[in-house]
Symmetry: C2
Subunit: 144 residues, 2 copies
DNA sequence: TCTTATTTTAGAATCCTTATAATTTAGTTT
DNA sequence: AAACTAAATTATAAGGATTCTAAAATAAGA
């Protein structure tokens, strides 16, 4: 399943004329294996055992390549560094104010939002993003 | 109207034990007078005629104070620097992909989103934000 | 007016990200 | 299988946004 997606992604890379290097493969594999939405630095640290000589620049370079091809999405919130999400299906994020956990959040179409926005503002709308904030179940329990 | 809001904000500051300095006043006044959603640096530049000796740090310090008190909201998008919005009423933003313009966008309650999110994820939801992207009317015309 | 805690200032420091230039390498061609 | 070449990696420097620091200035109360 994850393996399947990885193979598809590798094919997409090849078709785009992008070489498959061990580092690139590892970054992609890590992104696909985790449910977290890691920062560049988290990816870097997660792979430093396997690739002790890998440069942070390599992580950034590859994330940029994946972004350009549409294999990942960049998430920017208030905190300092970007997070990366390789789930490219339509979904939103819900973020815990306490622990910072980011959870994928699916629900029925909000496409009418885009239509409504077009009517109200006259924009030619291409997409939208939404984040919901709150306290996750774990942190609700921890709170006395 | 803007004057009214400014007075209210100043009162809020006083009640929070925050001193009203000329620089602080000017930053707040500028934020309230513009429909743009300026960056810290834009505010700094806009005030450099009035306050040639003001430090950028002062702008950042004051924005932080306003944020803590809830007088402004911080908007973080993909681009490098944060933008600040002193419209604290419920609204969303629609952003032009071409020129970067940010327009306030009002429409009927999306509170059901928060309710639905609670049901699906078990989070205790406090708020949400949404950005819609597209091409504004000006840029649609410019495009041949 | 005097006092003091807060604010401002200038500049250094930090963090995240991108640029540079030299070295290595993936993948094709011979 | 060896050679080739464009692309990728590396280490490091550079960049931009923001925060920190310590000294000087000042708002607002006594």
């Amino acid at each position: 399943m994850t393996e399947q997606r990885l193979q598809e992604a590798l094919t997409t890379l090849k078709n785009s004329g992008v070489r498959i290097t061990p580092q690139r493969h590892a970054v992609l594999e890590y992104l696909m294996s985790t449910m977290k939405h890691p920062t560049a630095d988290e990816i870097y640290k997660a792979l430093e055992d396997k690739f002790p000589n890998m440069s942070v620049a390599t992580v950034y370079n590859n994330l940029r390549v994946f972004l350009d091809i549409g294999l990942v999405r960049e998430l920017t919130y208030g905190d300092s560094s970007s997070r990366f999400d390789c789930n490219t299906t339509e979904h939103y994020h819900i973020i815990c104010d306490e622990c910072g956990k980011i959870v994928d959040f699916h629900y029925p179409s909000l496409n009418e939002v885009e239509q409504l926005a077009e009517q109200v503002t006259g924009f030619d709308v291409t997409n939208h993003r939404m984040e919901v904030y709150g306290t996750c179940e774990d942190c609700q329990q921890t709170k006395h």
